[in-house]
């Protein structure tokens, strides 16, 4: 049982790591704020979620697991709010999202 949990935790950690890297690359490479927001949001939701879940599995039943899940919950609540507020502020300030050449 514990071996299964260990493997599951490692897989979740690796998945989270992968999504974090993907999101970071997106944050660096994508063309404007709104598209970069996608990249950053992926690191906050999928990346952080998978990593924290993996750590919670590694922690086992304890207060630590509760705190990790609380951290996960807080992040799941706060990072979409932040992303929304940021997108709203950006659409106020910039007013023109980047569009592909074909869409103009």
């Amino acid at each position: 049982m514990s071996a299964v949990l260990d493997i599951l935790s490692a897989v979740l950690l690796l998945v989270g790591t992968l999504f974090t890297l993907i999101g970071g690359t997106g944050l660096l490479r994508l063309p404007d704020v709104f598209t970069r927001l996608h990249g950053a949001s992926i690191t906050d939701t999928l990346g952080a979620g998978a990593i924290l879940l993996g750590l919670a599995l590694a922690a086992g039943w304890s207060l630590l697991m509760g705190k990790l899940l609380a951290l996960l919950l807080i992040m799941a609540l706060l990072s979409p709010s932040t992303a929304h507020a940021l997108a709203r502020a950006a659409i106020h300030g910039i007013r023109k999202p980047w569009l592909d050449e074909a869409q103009k």
Binding site: T17, L27, A40, L52, K67, H92, G93
Partner: protein, 97 residues
């Protein structure tokens, strides 16, 4: 081993976000990058707790960081959208796009 990989990936992502924060070009890119860096820091402190072997101590810092980072980001966004923190005043600095 997995924790090491995760730590290194988090460091790389932090470096990416830092490059984005330096390059800009708009304010919102910088806010986005610094916010992303904040969540990466929280994750990194949590993972570091497991690497060092004292996760109970580190998770409290991570929890506090998440909450304070949210306050900071909202304050930053308020300034970037309205030009101040809500003081009634006539002067507002217009955003340059």
């Amino acid at each position: 081993m997995t924790l090491t990989i995760t730590l290194i990936a988090l460091l790389v992502t932090m470096a990416f976000a830092l490059i984005r924060a330096i390059k800009g070009p708009t304010v919102y890119d910088r806010i986005l990058a610094s916010n992303a860096l904040g969540t990466k820091t929280v994750l990194m402190i949590t993972v570091l707790g497991f690497v060092v072997g004292d996760p109970e101590l580190y998770i409290d810092i991570a929890l506090m960081y998440v909450l304070i980072g949210f306050i900071g980001t909202v304050a930053v966004l308020k300034v970037s959208e309205f030009g101040n923190l809500g003081q009634p005043q006539s002067h507002t600095d217009p955003e340059d796009p």
